[in-house]
Symmetry: C2
Subunit: 129 residues, 2 copies
Amino acid sequence: MNIGEAAKASGVPAKTIRYYESVNLIPPAHRTDSGYRTYEPADIERLSFIQRSRSLGFSVRDVGKLLDLWNDRSRASAEVKALATSHMTEIDQKIAELRSMRKTLKDLSEHCHGDDRPDCPILDGLAGG
Amino acid sequence: MNIGEAAKASGVPAKTIRYYESVNLIPPAHRTDSGYRTYEPADIERLSFIQRSRSLGFSVRDVGKLLDLWNDRSRASAEVKALATSHMTEIDQKIAELRSMRKTLKDLSEHCHGDDRPDCPILDGLAGG
DNA sequence: CCTTGACCTTCCAGTTTATGGAAGGTCCAT
DNA sequence: ATGGACCTTCCATAAACTGGAAGGTCAAGG
């Protein structure tokens, strides 16, 4: 599987895969004799996970930590558990914020007439959340 | 209210407030005779909204669009409604992804023993979510 | 066999969204 | 009037990409 297919399969652009390799987020890919990078299904899973984590606002560094644990199975599982728990807390917080923001937007659109009348007072609520 | 107080009140660092001004995300602040920026409560609300939106993964550009609508009350409310709705969809998606990710992590920590035993198979699940 | 087009490679430059620090002005309390 | 905590601008750096140039590779068709 070359980098283009890997990009399609994982949702991470080829350019970005190379970038991730360059900053050691992922290990150097195996190469064909001619120098093309090749990827295994396991690599795709890893890339998908990175993709998902990044889109949800986790830093590359955070993702790196999780991947380290994933790679080094011999680590104490207490450490894995602690990291997972801390990430879960972060996630809960993000979900709460998103819900609050969603509510603001919902109020906003419900109180707006949806026609051309310009009295849409709910925009005022945006800051409050 | 000077920039330091505004920073504390809004949660946006002073440095970042100046940056937002420099890229026209917010209008230039009023100045004292000596050149210090001053901020009103309304400015703080705006900054808080920006802060919240950014932390949830909305781009500065997206935030800018919403702020534009907020500023220009005379716009058709249909437009406001459309933008709000589109953002709500995005938010729903983000929430769904976070929940999926949370579930993965929960499974992970539940199946881990939390002691020093190294058999923590759930790390394998990370890519799947 | 050779060409054509879609891949791949590296490298360097630019973008977005800040953040850090230097050099210097301001404000206020002692 | 002087120290320290503010503020100012400007320039450099960071993180996480993204685009483009210059050139190598591969598979298909003529």
